[in-house]
């Protein structure tokens, strides 16, 4: 159920990907997401798929875990694919039934879109699987630090993200517990009209809010006791340092980018 959500989970390891500077990793993954959107044909997309596949191998994250992160999105992938099959105009008509026409172009677009979504998810999960949430938020804090110019509280945002990541599993457990407790008193949110189902959520939401406020209050005390006064004057145990592999990664990303642009030009051949 909700416990199965794997997005944002860290998979401990010591691969090259694990050791890269989280800032560079975040930037490159961001760049690769843009590249995925730039891909215009199967050559460029195929290259991206190959690169992402090799990166998965390097990360040593089990294939099973990667597939698991795709699981919640299967519906979206299929939905997009189906939509594209039926709504893409033009191309050669393969067969038709009722008002739907299926063309080769439709199938082409459907497969293309589905692959793109799968690659998008895989590359982002590679980032979260190989980077601890703490270093990820640290990286974001650093990367966003230019925004301070616009009076944006970058540190506060990063701290909020850390705490959210920290408390998601705790809250999921809590929801589970409250649901079971109310079920034991005969609560039922699986039958009845939409309104009565929504109403049935009150016995879960009220205790959840109350306990979250209590947690927040206690956490604030605990943080104060540990001398937390915001970002000023704070040091970090884990220093981020760009090393040779990081610069190589940057160079590699640039190379990949050029390759995508070239392949997009279709000079290899046209489909």
């Amino acid at each position: 159920m909700i416990r199965d959500i794997t997005i944002g989970r860290y998979f401990p390891g010591n691969s090259l990907l694990h050791r890269l500077d989280p800032r560079m990793k975040t930037l490159v993954v961001f760049a690769m997401i843009i590249m995925l959107f730039l891909c215009k044909n199967f050559y460029s997309l195929g290259l991206m798929a190959l690169v992402i596949f090799i990166l998965s191998l390097i990360s040593k994250v089990p294939l099973k875990m990667l597939l698991k992160s795709l699981k919640p999105l299967i519906f979206i992938v299929i939905f997009t694919a189906v939509l594209n099959i039926f709504y893409t105009q033009g191309g050669q008509e393969l067969f038709k039934f009722w008002i739907f026409k299926v063309s080769d172009k439709g199938i082409y677009t459907a497969v293309f879109m589905a692959t793109r979504i799968i690659l998008l998810v895989t590359v982002s999960s590679l980032l979260t699987y190989t980077t601890t949430p703490t270093s990820l938020t640290d990286a974001l804090e650093k990367l966003m630090s230019p925004l301070k110019v616009f009076k944006i509280e970058v540190h506060t945002i990063a701290m909020m993200m850390t705490l959210a990541l920290r408390f998601i599993p705790t809250l999921i457990e809590e929801i589970d517990r409250i649901m079971n407790a109310q079920k034991a008193r005969g609560a039922d949110w699986e039958s009845g009209s939409l309104i009565s189902r929504a109403k049935a959520l009150i016995p879960i939401l009220v205790p959840l809010f109350i306990s979250s406020f209590r947690r927040a209050y206690e956490l604030a005390f605990a943080m104060e006791c540990r001398c937390y006064t915001g970002g000023q004057g704070r040091t970090r145990m884990k220093q981020m340092k760009m090393r040779f592999p990081d610069f190589s990664t940057a160079a590699f990303a640039l190379l990949l980018f050029s390759a995508i642009i070239l392949l997009n030009l279709n000079f290899v051949g046209v489909i």
Partner: protein, 289 residues
């Protein structure tokens, strides 16, 4: 005491009173003229039923609350002085009841580093402190784990390591074992005892469990915002009636001896554990025959 090298107290309460604002405009007095002096290196257990004021007393020791009347002085610093708040919190660390609500990071070692990071300690030194603190509480092997997957006792030890890494001289633990099972309870209590013995860290341990209190050097019993008993466990647990009258328990061994004594069997007061209690009974049996 005429001891010439008498140590200055690390925490001192002088006529401290504290009230919360109640809903209907009035105030509710929680602490009433508390006088208390704690010496460096002491291991103190505070007992008291819910609402007796012990949690408030804990929160006064590191300037989370500031007394409305009287003074709290920590290592020579008055907690009312806002400029000294960080110094005071570096002297007195706190561990709370709910292990989940005091861990801020998603990886064990990052959480332990949180305190020293806030203090602006240099990165290399934080690393050393974190590693040492985790070893001291026996959690070094778990440094890369996610806290939410640990047991309650392990989480509390992480919280303790977080304070050790700040190199505080004193540790205040507000019912740290209340939500744990017997194994976790023993784990946490023994860790704290060891830290007190090995490093001379002053410990104030608030609890409901008498088997913990009997192992302290000094026991304070609170009732209705006042300290009603202050002494060694033996002294405190001798007066079974008094302890029961404030809604607390005594160890079974103490109560057994107490009731036998009342029934006319000649037993000394204040027996704390099964060994003492059994020996006293055997002695009484020999005396009769």
């Amino acid at each position: 005491m005429q001891d010439s090298n008498i140590k200055n107290p690390i925490i001192e309460f002088v006529d401290v009173s504290f009230s919360y604002e109640a809903e209907d405009d009035g105030t509710q007095k929680v602490l009433d003229k508390i006088n208390l002096s704690i010496k460096p290196g002491e291991f103190i257990c505070i007992l008291g039923h819910n609402g007796s004021g012990k949690s408030t007393l804990a929160k006064l020791t590191n300037a989370i609350y500031v007394p409305q009347k009287g003074r709290v002085v920590v290592d020579g610093k008055d907690t009312a002085d806002e400029n000294l708040v960080n110094d005071i919190r570096q002297t007195v660390g706190m561990v709370f009841q709910n292990p989940d609500n005091q861990i801020v990071a998603t990886i064990v070692e990052d959480d332990v580093a949180f305190g020293p990071e806030n203090l602006g300690v240099a990165p290399e030194e934080i690393r050393q402190r974190v590693d040492k603190a985790l070893k001291d509480v026996g959690m070094y092997d778990y440094r890369h784990h996610e806290p939410h997957k640990l047991s309650g006792g392990q989480k509390q030890r992480i919280a303790i390591a977080g304070i050790l890494a700040m190199q505080t001289k004193c540790m205040v633990l507000d019912e740290p074992t209340a939500m744990l099972d017997p194994v976790g309870r023993a784990e946490v209590f023994e860790t704290v005892m060891r830290l007190n013995k090995d490093f001379g860290i002053t410990v104030i341990f608030i609890t409901h469990f008498m088997e913990e209190a009997v192992k302290a050097e000094r026991v304070l019993v609170m009732d209705d915002g006042k300290i009603v008993q202050d002494g060694s466990p033996r002294e405190v647990f001798s007066d079974v009636q008094k302890i029961k009258s404030v809604g607390l328990d005594v160890p079974q061994a103490s109560e057994l001896c107490y009731r036998l004594r009342k029934a006319g069997i000649d037993l000394p007061p204040g027996m704390l554990d099964e060994e003492e209690c059994a020996n006293a009974i055997i002695k009484a049996a020999e005396d009769i025959s």
